[in-house]
């Protein structure tokens, strides 16, 4: 119960503290102290009327105390003293005066001057409130590695002067793309590997984004896209095994999430959006219909390919083309793509080859896809596909 409150409050409290203290590390330490104090006191004294305000005010007191203690930060103390001079103790505890600066924090964490993995880690830590240990586990890296990565990113933000601000209009489209990309990457990381904690976190972040940027069509579209995918989650991972869309039990689809996704997609369209996430959400929506309208899906992928120039999109279009014109036509597109390190490239190729009865080539492609896949439901799915292929007549070397 208290944990839920903390989880909800963390990003909000931290963002405000970064705004006040001007340093993420300092803010994080202060916030942690305040949350620890709350965990100690609230169960006895009861939750304060305004938990957010209490946490921010407490953390701020702590931070100021600490700064005063630490001689090396003398300059910062001076700056803070100046800033706080006009404020009495009473106004410091007035929650209404604390602005919500989560949006500023998101743009800081997803600044393109930071490496993408650092952007992802920082966003999960600062806005998602995940612990370093949880993030390390989610991305299958040692705790030390993730800890170093986060510390390095925080230091770069401080030392290089990465702004804590919503970017000016001329930079906004590009920077917003970076923010959306980070959230979508978190979603996909969870979606591919069946890591529902990451999927849930991405959706939570997506909800924050539309709360903070209600006029951005692409933010609505991203949340729609994630919900329309997540709605099939139970059906997609039945008893821990991956089930392909056409084989899924539709009664297990979450109609509530589908409706919400539809609503968000409509809102995105009403905001005159035309970016990549709207198109992807529209495609996700088409995939939910039976029979699937492959012509329209192919058309939307074509449009998306035009905007993004991405080989992964071309790969998806090849799947639609294979449905419309046959597996050969799909293979023609795949052969033009350079995606040798992408597991879905090989699994898609394998599937088309299998449908053409080119079993040996299919086997080699499934094997390559398997090599690139982490142990888990996806890998077991590939194993079952490999097992389903007829035994090869003679031991031929891989083509």
């Amino acid at each position: 119960m208290l944990e839920d409150v903390f989880r909800d409050q963390w990003g909000r409290v931290l963002a405000t503290l970064v705004g006040i203290l001007g340093d993420i590390e300092l803010a994080e330490d202060a916030a942690q102290e305040a949350f620890a104090l709350a965990a100690e006191r609230w169960p006895h004294d009861g939750q304060p009327e305004n938990p957010t305000g209490w946490l921010i005010a407490t953390a701020r007191h702590r931070a100021i105390d600490r700064i005063r203690r630490e001689r090396t930060l003398a300059a910062k103390t001076e700056q803070l003293k100046r800033e706080l001079r006009d404020e009495s103790e009473e106004t410091m505890d007035e929650a209404a005066t604390f602005p919500d600066e989560r949006l500023e924090l998101i743009f800081t964490c997803c600044h393109p001057a930071l490496a993408l993995d650092a952007q992802v880690g920082l966003t999960l830590r600062t806005l998602g409130g995940l612990s370093t240990e949880e993030i390390a586990r989610a991305f299958l890296v040692p705790f030390e590695t993730m800890s170093k990565r986060l510390t390095r990113a925080k230091h770069k933000i401080r030392d290089a002067g990465i702004p804590f601000a919503v970017p000016p209009d001329r930079l906004l489209p590009e920077r917003l793309d970076a923010v959306l990309a980070v959230v979508y990457l978190i979603f996909n990381e969870g979606w591919g590997g069946g890591r529902f904690d990451l999927v849930a976190e991405a959706i939570r972040l997506g909800r924050s984004l539309i709360e903070l940027m209600p006029d951005e069509a692409e933010a609505h579209a991203l949340l729609a896209l994630m919900l329309l995918g997540h709605a099939r989650n139970t059906a997609r991972f039945l008893h821990g095994e991956l089930v392909l869309l056409d084989d899924q039990d539709r009664s297990l689809w979450d109609q509530h999430q589908i409706d919400e996704g539809h609503g968000l997609l409509e809102q995105a369209l009403a905001l005159h959006g035309s970016g990549p996430y709207i198109i992807q959400a529209a495609i996700a929506d088409l995939h939910l219909q039976q029979p699937r309208n492959w012509e329209e899906i192919e058309l939307l992928y074509r449009q998306l390919e035009h905007i993004t120039n991405s080989p992964v999109v071309a790969l998806n279009r090849a799947i639609a083309v294979a449905e419309l014109e046959g597996p050969e036509a799909g293979l023609v597109i795949l052969d033009r793509l350079e995606l040798d390190d992408y597991r879905y490239y090989h699994s898609t190729r394998a599937d088309l080859l299998r449908r053409l009865g080119r079993d040996d080539e299919a086997r080699a492609a499934y094997a390559r896809a398997r090599e690139l896949t982490q142990p888990g439901p996806e890998q077991r799915f590939l194993d079952s596909r490999l097992a389903d292929l007829p035994e090869s007549a003679e031991q031929l070397p891989d083509p």
Partner: protein
């Protein structure tokens, strides 16, 4: 904050640019360098003119050429005053658009006094 913009070029690319083209690019770069937020800049002679001083087996050793042996070389640097990294990146982007073969490394200046706490 102050930022140093380190402009890197490539020897092979440099030798391919015709003289007239180079002059035109330089004239445009001069306009950017005249902006008030640019507080200083230096251009360096060709990298072939470099001499490196270092220590080897307790002796000071001179070698002909730059410290880092590479086709990429530091061509000059520019000091920029900006409110934050975005301000410095904007100047770097402007310069990069004029000289598309260059790569510009943006580094915040360490303002601490040498030897001071």
């Amino acid at each position: 904050m102050r930022y140093a913009l380190l402009a890197y070029s490539n020897v092979e690319v440099r030798d391919r640019i015709p003289e007239a083209e180079r002059r035109r690019i330089n004239a445009e770069i001069a306009e950017v360098l005249a902006q008030p937020n640019v507080t200083g800049w230096l251009r360096l002679q060709d990298v072939e003119s470099a001499t490196t001083v270092r220590r080897e087996q307790d002796r000071t050793l001179l070698t002909d050429g730059p410290f880092v042996d590479s086709k990429d070389y530091l061509g000059g640097f520019i000091l920029v005053e900006a409110e934050n990294l975005d301000g410095a990146l904007a100047v770097a982007a402007e310069l990069q658009e004029l000289d598309v073969t260059a790569a510009i490394e943006v580094r915040p200046v360490l303002e601490q006094e040498l030897g001071g706490a």
